[in-house]
Amino acid sequence: MAVSGSDFPGSLTNAALPPPRTRIFKIIVIGDSGVGKTCLTYRFCAGRFPDKTEATIGVDFRERLVEIDGEKIKIQLWDTAGQERFRKSMVQHYYRNVHAVVFVYDLTNAASFRSLPAWIEECKQHSLGTEVPRILVGNKCDLQDSVQVGTDVAQQFADSHSMPLFETSAKDPNSQGGGNHRDSDHVEAIFMTVAHKLKSQKPLVLSQPPESSVSLSMGKDVGGDASRSWGCGSC
């Protein structure tokens, strides 16, 4: 259950020695039940695919220390329950101080794609709008035969919300290690992209722009820029 490989490397040392403090990027992962949120976060933090995943009750939390441009950064992933009743009254606590949002849908399940506007709205209610880096992940692209959400439709949706789109698979057909490098690297790439984005954008997030009109247009610019420059991988 615990993601042992990723359990807080060096957290005690950090507590003992004050500065330089490791920066923490908090990323919340949301989407319908069964789309693979736990798989994705586990894959990124533990470096391997989980044997089996179960329903997430409430929220679960995973962490990994990465190095970006010589700076050590902690990436905290908050894996949330998909069932609506949990997010309505339970999960709000965890939306606080979030730096980025990863929306996940299952591209073999059209309903999970149709729920995305509700999830986006949910984030807005917790003040996580376009000023916060957000990305869209279509999971389970290994199941090519049962795809229900085409890349073009998803791309259109992502564009309209100024988000980059990734299509990936958190499933490893060859269980451990070796195997399918392309997909494995992709999960890695998704979260690292967000981390890079946050690192470059951090001052923006910290110092909130005063005028709302400016912040809106800037949000759009940032988003538009993001979807161009982040690229849209598909596997």
Binding site: M1, A2, D7, F8, S11, L12, N14, A15, I24, K26, S33, G34, K52, T53, E54, A55, T56, I57, G58, V59, D60, F61, E63, Q76, A81, G82, Q83, R85, F86, K88, S89, M90, V91, H93, Y94
Partner: protein, 379 residues
Amino acid sequence: CTVWLYRLAVSSRCSVSLYRLSLLSGCSVSLDPVDIQALRRAAATRGGLLNNEMRRKVWPKLLNINVFDLPHRPGRNGREKHTDFQQVVLDVKRSMKRFPKGMPAAERDALQEQLIDIILEVLKRNSQLHYYQGYHDVAVTLLLVVGERMAMAMLEKLSNHHLRDFMDTTMDSTKHILNYLMPILEQVDAELHDFMTRAEVGTIFALSWLITWFGHVLSEFKHTLRLYDFFLASHPLMPIYLAATIVLHREQEVKQTECDMAMVHHLLAHIPEDLPFELLIGRAQGLFDCFPPPLLAKQAALQSRNSLSISSFQAFQLSTLHQRPDSVLQPGDDGELWRQGNRIVKVAVWGLSATLGAAVFAVAQTAMDWGPEAFLQLF
């Protein structure tokens, strides 16, 4: 008061277990009326109900279920029309860990289908109840011990009492129940309470403990069963008291962690495999006796909210007082059915036992610790 009760729980366990063994050897179940108080004590004190044979006898009595009047096996027609069908199937199919390792896939598949059936049937019969993720963890625990029809009867009873608050349309009542956790900690260890308050950790780390009676987080099924003995015999808030004892038990670890929401949440959410459950159960009971729910609610100025689980508990307990023993309950054809069903369950459980030899050995050994006479009385 707490310390005194802790000591009492620890020092008296030998005599209590001997007493319990004599109760379990049959007399409490066959008295007329059934000695429900004795059964509750047996289920809650050290060792619990010992084995699944006992559980099949005692669990129904703890919930006032007539074993000769069980609901019929649910039909599969139209089950996919239920609004929660997709969610239930999704959760049940993913719950492979709940089934014993080594169980043949076909057997597990059949049990998973039964699990979907009983959950949907209970929901269908009780439109006031709403499915939550984790409900399937409760259902599977019952199913693996008592079989399909009895599991359905027990699940229905629990859903209308102990689990009732979790099954509202929203989780607001569940949040209210979770709010009892911090006041208990405050009473026992103010320093720990302050630390957790400063970390703003909240109480969601204990959510799955509460709503699945720890079934979702424990990997050893024997521990889950032991806790179910305790909770079936206790007040609906008892899982919160046990949650508090677990946090208190890990007090040192918690205080040494960085005072940060994520860190503390992560530490607490992952339960160590080797918790001394018997000790913790004794302590939870001690805490409950020292700080009963009304006292906590008053001291902590918990917002008053109508909890259906709590408000219906007294009536529920009263209803269990006048149960007739099975021998008087006039076993008719239905009784035969239950016994047959029971036999099938037994075969299944012995099948599991073969693969889980170590668990059986552990139970036998625990019984042996109390002396061979007691052991012989049992089997």
